[in-house]
Subunit: 128 residues, 2 copies
């Protein structure tokens, strides 16, 4: 069964409204990137990563293609394409009892797509 | 709810019995690797990838750490460590109505772990 937090996440994605993203994040939220092992801790840095990922990945070709559920969250599979490179990944999202995001992890395949995202996310993060 | 095929998959992992793995695979099973975009099609090549991945990843440090379900399958998150490098990934498994694996996709993070697996899987596949 889909978690109520997922609907809020989808609302944010459709609206591109960053206030909604901020309201969705627990103050002690954690983000784990496809590239780096060390978790990023706290709403400020998680907000920065997720909004940058939205800019980099959120083009017209981005779509969710699969979903799997647990009691406290979901795995959402996505596909996108940037500069002719196909990107396939998962958002692994965990919510608290108030439907706020407490943990957000991203994995991406294939290797070519990770290298592209690594480079584009670095450039985007340095702008914010 | 966990899919019945998952129990058979866990039985195989615990037993390391390759006959069980073979019996679990649909003749037209598809494998998608963390490294390469192009899907690998057919039981022979899927068996080769999954049994090689078992050798490379299936050390004492391998453990499943999370699970999410859909009607026809599951996402299983794993952690492992090889040569001091922490590996975090997901197995995305889809079953047919006879609980045979029809699709198996793997994603891995972080980048350092993908590069290590790329190299180790290449070496292992060339032995089989």
């Amino acid at each position: 069964m889909a978690h109520p937090g997922l609907e809020a996440w989808r609302d944010y994605l459709h609206s591109h409204d960053k206030d909604r993203l901020w309201a969705l994040l627990h103050p002690e939220a954690v983000f784990e990137s496809p590239v780096v092992h060390t978790p990023q801790r706290g709403r400020d840095i998680v907000f920065k990563y997720l909004s940058s990922a939205g800019v980099v990945l959120g083009g017209d070709s981005f779509k969710y293609t699969g979903e799997w559920f647990s009691d406290d969250g979901a795995v959402l599979e996505f596909e996108s394409e940037i500069d002719g490179i196909k990107i396939n990944g998962v958002d692994i999202i965990r919510f608290d009892e108030d439907a706020r995001i407490v943990h957000f992890k991203v994995m991406v395949r294939p290797l070519k797509a990770i290298n592209l995202l690594h480079q584009m996310m670095g450039a985007q993060l340095s702008k914010t």
